[in-house]
């Protein structure tokens, strides 16, 4: 939550490494061609290691991320205070003040079309979100540890007023 810039940094590093590696493979020794069989012999050996590395990284990434899943079944929310949020074109109906350091569960639904309930922290970063769907209630467990004004923006296209659909609440 609020990790957008961290993701950007990871992406830029991965992209830079990938581009550099691909350019290196394409350009290294370009003026000294080798028979395809020679390249293949080395390439197939590297590919086995590469396959192993990719699978291991994928498995580790999955294992590391599971504890951070935002879902109510993945987070302790017993005894939490429930906060009802109803979205409708083009506003959110919800309390204007919420408590700090208290476990909360937002019960989010919609009166009309699909909306997105996106909570932006006082520093402007996207803090949490869940879809607001008609006929369904999505439960979003959260505990605020920072006081201040949180802005809510719609994060699912909902019609002509989508860009103007926002609200907010104070955490005290």
């Amino acid at each position: 939550m609020g990790d957008g810039l961290l993701v950007l940094k990871i992406f830029l590093v991965v992209a830079a490494i990938a581009i550099a590696a691909m350019l290196f493979v394409a350009l290294y020794g370009a003026k000294k061609p080798l028979p395809q069989s020679v390249v293949n012999d080395a390439g197939y050996r590297i590919r086995k290691l590469w396959l192993g590395l990719v699978l291991v990284v994928a498995a580790i990434a999955f294992a590391l991320t599971v504890p951070f899943f935002p879902y109510p079944w993945a987070r302790a929310s017993v005894g939490a205070r429930h906060v009802r949020v109803t979205a409708a074109q083009y506003a959110f109906v919800m309390p204007s003040v919420l408590p700090v350091d208290v476990p909360l569960v937002f019960d989010v639904t919609s009166q009309d079309v699909n909306h997105g309930f996106g909570i932006y922290a006082p520093d402007g970063t996207l803090f949490a979100q869940v879809q607001a769907m008609p006929d369904y209630i999505n439960h979003l467990p959260i505990e605020f540890h920072v006081k201040g004004h949180y802005v809510v923006r719609c994060l699912e296209f909902c019609g002509i007023g989508h860009a103007y659909m926002h609200g907010g609440f104070d955490v005290r």
Binding site: M1, A18, M22, A61, F68, N114, T125, L155, G159
Partner: protein, 477 residues
């Protein structure tokens, strides 16, 4: 060749028009030109569905030609499918231009029917237009799959099962595994039929609701089918174009690309993961069945394995120390692989659930799929066009042209895309006619990048026409 060029020219023409629309949209978000909110969403609807359709039409033309080289395909079926595409495109344009439809391609139920500012007929026309495009797509998929199954003797052989599970006997019998491009065609046509069926199913349900509002649809069911169809269709445009790598790169490098057991198994993975990876579009729908959220992350990771371990790795092995000449054709194919990997990396980060909380429906989403489509699929299509033209004329473009095209499409593309990524990481929502800060600043940078892309595309167009007008002295690809 006639079918291939008809499809590719039509696809690239739509691409060019949608590029202009896209530049206008970003310039509007930057505050540089005035576009009212209703028109903005009408144009965004047109841009989104138009670009995917453009890439699909061009990619299908390429794929159809590659299959036709090995198994004769009836041109009349391809032209019938083209008629569906043409009707669909015209009806969608009518819906947008005259009806001012503006619920975007996702048209998540019940959006196109609630709180609309356009007449009901425009929603119906949009649904029917998209359905016509889907029917054309499924017709081509059915034709290709039918031809492959008939010629190979069944699905098992078409997918290389007998080759993988009994290689010695298979080779002793003098048989050959399916070529890489035929594997791509088999997977695209199977997944295309599945994705198309999902789209038609939800489309028919929505048309029923349009005709009789008493017909109600479960919003979660509709969302699942909409994204299964949308994700699969968009994803498959890449795999259509990828078939060109297997044929064109060997020409550029004067090397061979043969089917192997890893390649065959990789395509099995693609067959499965392309269908189920769409679950990552519903990570923020917490009422979704929990198991599929886990499947969404795992399948999104695994979908990348065939790409990075087999196809792109194999493509780089072909290029490495081959003495390949850097023509526009080979340059586009190499850059397309880079774009595929970079866009795929961004997609994997977004498909990681804890990160998705920060990125879902922000500008990161268009960032990754614009990388994938503009610097991946589009470049593979251009690569195929230029390798074909260079082969035919036995000529290549001079260094100045390559630099202009490269700086425009790659340099401008980098500027255009980084603006999406940075704004997305800052939490700027996607699909906002008027964006909160820092959106407008980055929209301005994006507009400059997109204009540079336009310069590169125009230079490529002029160069392509020059090569096409040269006397044919070489052979067809």
């Amino acid at each position: 060749m006639k079918i291939m060029w008809t499809y590719i020219v039509a696809g690239l023409t739509i691409f060019g028009l949608m590029l202009l629309v896209g530049i206008g949209l970003r310039a509007s978000q930057a505050g540089w030109i005035p576009i009212d909110t209703g028109t903005f969403y009408s144009l965004l609807s047109l841009h989104g569905v138009g670009m995917i359709t453009a890439m699909a039409i061009a990619g299908l033309g390429l794929l159809w030609y590659l299959v036709d080289r090995e198994i004769h395909l009836d041109e009349r079926v391809a032209m019938l499918a083209f008629a569906f595409f043409a009707i669909g495109v015209v009806v969608v344009i009518v819906s947008v231009v005259f009806g001012h439809y503006g619920a975007l391609w996702t048209m998540l139920y019940p959006l196109p029917f609630v709180g609309t500012t356009w007449p009901s007929w425009a929603t119906g026309a949009w649904l029917l237009g998209v359905a016509a495009v889907m029917l054309g797509f499924m017709l081509i998929c059915a034709q290709i799959l039918g031809a492959i199954l008939r010629s190979s003797g069944g699905l098992g052989s078409a997918l290389g099962l007998d080759y993988v599970f009994g290689r010695k006997a298979f080779e002793a019998a003098g048989k050959h595994p399916p070529s890489p491009q035929m594997l791509a065609a088999t997977v695209v046509s199977i997944d295309g039929l599945i994705g198309g069926a999902s789209g038609l199913l939800v489309g028919i349900a929505m048309i029923a609701h349009w005709l009789d509002p008493h017909v109600v649809i479960d919003p979660l069911w509709a969302k699942n089918l909409t994204y299964q169809f949308g994700h699969t269709f968009a994803n498959l445009t890449m795999y259509m174009a990828v078939a060109g790598i297997y044929v064109a790169l060997p020409i550029c490098t004067k090397r061979a690309y043969h089917s192997s057991i890893p390649l065959v198994v990789a395509w099995w993975g693609t067959l499965v993961f392309v269908i189920i990876a769409y679950f990552h579009h519903l990570y923020m729908d917490f009422v979704q069945w929990p198991a599929v959220q886990y499947i969404g992350e795992i399948s999104s990771y695994l979908a990348a394995v065939p790409v990075v371990v087999v196809t792109v790795f194999g493509g780089l092995m072909l290029i490495h120390r081959s003495g390949m000449k850097w023509t526009l054709g080979s340059m586009f194919f190499f850059a397309g692989m880079v774009g595929w990997i970079v866009g795929g990396s961004a997609a994997i980060l977004d498909a990681t659930i804890p990160f998705n909380v920060d990125l879902h429906n922000t500008l990161w989403v268009p960032a990754h799929f614009h990388t994938y489509l503009l610097e991946g699929v589009f470049l593979f299509i251009l690569g195929w066009v230029f390798v074909s033209l260079e082969q035919r004329a036995e000529a290549a473009s001079n260094a100045l042209v390559r630099w202009i095209v490269g700086l425009g499409i790659f340099g401008g593309g980098a500027l255009f895309l980084i603006s999406f990524y940075v704004a997305g990481a800052a939490g700027v929502p996607r699909r906002y006619a008027v964006e909160p800060a820092p959106g407008p600043f980055w929209a301005g940078i994006a507009t400059v990048g997109a204009l540079l892309i336009l310069v590169g595309v125009l230079a490529a167009l002029v160069e392509g026409i020059r090569l096409a007008r040269m006397r044919a002295v070489g052979s067809a690809v």
